[in-house]
Amino acid sequence: MKYLLIILFIALLFASCKKEEEKTAANPEGKIVFHFLHQVDGQDLDIDTMKYVNAAGNHYLINEIQYFISDVTLHLAGGGSILIDEWKDIHYVDTDIPSTHTWEVYDAIQAGSYEYISFTFGISEEKNHSFMYVNPPESFMFWPEYLGGGYHYMKLNGKWLNEDLFIEPFDFHLGIGQILDTAGQITGFVHNDFEVVLPGSAFTLQSGETIDIDIIMNIENWFQDPNLYDHNIWGGYIMQNQEAMHVACENGWNVFEVGYGL
C-alpha cells in the first residue's frame, strides 16, 4: 500500500506540469522579449565621441542615457488591448548597464494579431511617486521633491560644441516641470510624460512562441521635429525650464521605433 502511495504522489507531481500544458493549449499564449537599442542617424550609438550633428547644427556627443518606459500596451487587431503589468509595469534602461537592455516580459501574452504597441515615456502622473524605488540604479533617478518629486523620465547626458567653440556639458533631463509665478516661485507642476505609439509595430504572436521586439531610440529625433532643439538656446540644464522640457517632449513622439528579431 505504501508503495502505491509513493507512486501516486510522484504521479501527482508530474501531472501538475501537464495541467499547465493543457492550460496553454486551451488559452494559447506566447512570450515577448524587448531589446532596447540606441542609435544616431541609423547607426548604433558610439559613446563619448564628438561626431554627431543635430538638426540645429550643434556638434555633440552622448555620454550616457538612462530612462524609464512604462505601461507598455499591446493593442489587438480586433479591438481591445493588453497592459503589461503582471510582474512590473515600469522598465528602466541604462546605456551603462547591459542587463537593462533586455526585458523578458513575465506576462504570458495572448496569442493573436496585434495592430500596434504603445507605452508611456517616463512614468505617468498616477504612478510617479517619490521613494517607490530604494535600490540603485532606479533610485538614482529620483527627481527632487522641490521640483515636483518622483523620478526623472530620462537623463541624457552629453556635451556639445557651443557658439564659443567651447565643449560644454549638457544634461538633457526630462521629468516633472514647474509652473512659476512672476516672482519665480513654484505654484504648480506639469507632468511631461507622454504616450508613444510605435509606428509599424503590428505583429502576430503564435501560441508557444517567444517573439523578440527591438525598441530603438533614434537619439537625433529628440532635437528635431516639430521643434529644432538648439543647445545654444536651451543651455546645459533644463530641469527647471518647463519650456525647454515641453519642446523636448513634443519631439519625443517619433524618437522610438520598433524592429523585430535580432
Binding site: L4, E64, S130, P136, K159, Q240
Partner: protein, 389 residues
C-alpha cells in the same frame, strides 16, 4: 525468475523515488568547499534597514553576518597586534586611522596625522587621503577612490571590504607587515582562538577569516539618524537656512549636488560612482579611475564621497587639497577647471562654477551639516571594547 506484483510495485516505486531524487538533487547547490564543523551554530545578525535605504545589501554569500563574527571583528578592528607587532610604538590597527568620532575617517584633527594626511608605520604617505567607513553595506560599486576593489573583479583578492584587510596589513604606506606575522600573533594571543571558534567554527586564525570578521563589523556601521533623517521622518524641523540650503542642494540652478551626492531619494548621499569634477586639467595620478578602467575619459575621475558626516571627514577630495567645507563649496561655486574629461554633470563649467552668493554658500553648508549623525559617531556598539583579548 518471476517477480510477484508486490515486488514489481516495490521496485517501481524505488526507481521512481530515485528518479525524483536525481531530478531534484541536480538543482541543489554545490557543497561548501569548507565543511561546517558539527556544533558550530553562530547567531545570525539581521541588518535593520532604515526608512528609504536600499534593501540590496553588500553581504557576500561566503561571509554571512553573525553576532559572533561581528564581535570578533570589533576586537580585531581595534587591535594593534593585527599589524603583526607587539612593541607599543609599532602597533597599528584599523582604528589607528579610522576614528569613530570622525565617521571612521582620520579627520583633520588627528593628533598624529597632521591635517588629516595619513602615513604608514614607516612614514610613507598614503597615496590618497582617507574615505570614511560608513554605510558601506550599500556600496556595490567599488571601494577606494578609484574603485579598484569591486565585486566582479577577475582578481578574486580585490573584491570587497574583506580584501581591504590584508591590503592594509601588507601595504608599505599602512601597516607594512606581512600576513604570516599578523595571523601568527593573533593565533598566539589568548582569547582569540576561542573567538574564531565561535565566529567560524574553528580556532585556526587565517587572514581570510580576519578579513571576514572585520568586514562584518564594518558592515554594521550604519548612519541613518542625522538631523536630516529625523526631518524626513517628521521628528524635527530644519531651520530656514538649512531648508534654503537643501533647495540649493537639489536644484540644477542652485548648487546641483544631488545628481552625484543624492538627497532624500538617495539617502546614501552618494551614488558610489566616479566623476571628473573639474579639479584639474592635467592628470598624472596613477591611481585615478582611468587606472582601473583604462578608459581615457576616466582620467581625473574619482568616487563621489558620501556627504554623511562630511563636516568631520576633511581634508577633502582625493588629495586632500581642501581643508574645509567652505573651501569645497567655494571650489564648486567659482573654481571649476575645464578638461576634455570633465563629467557631463558638471554643466556649470562654462561659468567656472555654480556662482553661489555668500549667503547661498552659508545656507548650503548649513544643510550639509544636518547630515552629521551624532548617534552614529558615539554608538557604543562601534567603539573599542573595554577589554581586549
Amino acid at each position: 525468475m518471476r517477480l510477484d506484483s508486490d515486488k514489481i510495485l516495490k521496485i517501481a516505486s524505488l526507481a521512481a523515488l530515485a528518479l525524483v531524487v536525481v531530478l531534484f538533487g541536480s538543482c541543489s547547490k554545490d557543497n561548501d568547499p569548507e565543511p561546517i564543523p558539527a556544533g558550530y551554530k553562530p547567531t545570525p545578525y539581521t541588518i535593520e534597514i532604515p526608512f528609504g535605504f536600499p534593501t540590496k545589501l553588500n553581504i557576500p554569500e561566503d561571509n554571512p553576518m553573525t553576532v559572533e563574527g561581528i564581535e570578533l571583528g570589533r576586537y580585531l578592528f581595534y587591535d594593534g597586534r593585527i599589524s603583526g607587532r607587539t612593541h607599543p610604538d609599532s602597533l597599528m590597527s584599523c582604528a589607528t586611522c579610522h576614528i569613530q568620532e570622525n565617521s571612521f575617517e582620520c579627520g583633520i584633527n588627528h593628533p598624529v596625522y597632521q591635517g588629516g594626511f595619513t602615513h604608514g608605520i614607516t612614514g610613507i604617505p598614503t597615496p590618497h587621503v582617507m574615505l570614511p567607513l560608513v554605510n558601506l553595506i550599500w556600496n556595490h560599486s567599488g571601494f577606494l577612490w578609484n574603485g579598484k576593489i569591486y565585486p566582479e573583479n577577475p582578481e578574486a583578492h580585490f573584491r570587497n571590504i574583506e580584501d581591504l584587510v590584508w591590503m592594509g596589513i601588507v601595504a608599505p604606506h599602512e601597516m607594512n607587515s606581512d600576513t604570516n606575522r599578523a595571523k601568527a600573533l593573533i593565533q598566539s594571543t589568548p582569547g582569540y582562538p576561542e573567538l574564531f571558534e565561535k565566529a567560524f567554527g574553528t580556532p585556526v586564525v587565517t587572514v581570510d577569516r580576519m578579513g571576514k570578521a572585520i568586514a562584518q563589523f564594518i558592515r554594521t556601521f550604519i548612519s541613518a539618524n542625522s538631523k536630516f533623517d529625523r526631518y524626513m521622518r517628521g521628528e524635527v524641523q530644519l531651520t530656514a537656512s538649512e531648508l534654503s540650503g537643501y533647495v540649493l542642494f537639489t536644484t540644477e540652478e542652485g548648487a546641483d549636488c544631488f545628481h552625484c551626492h543624492g538627497a532624500a531619494g538617495n539617502p546614501l548621499f552618494t551614488t558610489h560612482l566616479y566623476y571628473n569634477n573639474g579639479k584639474d586639467s592635467i592628470f598624472n595620478d596613477p591611481r585615478d579611475r582611468y587606472a582601473v578602467t583604462g578608459d581615457p575619459n576616466d582620467k581625473g575621475a574619482y568616487k563621489a564621497t558620501t556627504l554623511r558626516n562630511i563636516e568631520l571627514t576633511g581634508p577633502y577630495m582625493h588629495d586632500g587639497r581642501f581643508a574645509t567645507l567652505e573651501d569645497v563649496v567655494e571650489f564648486y561655486s567659482h573654481g571649476l577647471v575645464w578638461s576634455p574629461q570633465i563629467d557631463p554633470l558638471m554643466h556649470h563649467i562654462a561659468n567656472g562654477g555654480t556662482q553661489l552668493t555668500a549667503q547661498e554658500k552659508a545656507n548650503l553648508i548649513a544643510f550639509i551639516k544636518t547630515l552629521r549623525d551624532d548617534e552614529f559617531l558615539s554608538n557604543p556598539a562601534f567603539s573599542k571594547p573595554e577589554k581586549m583579548p
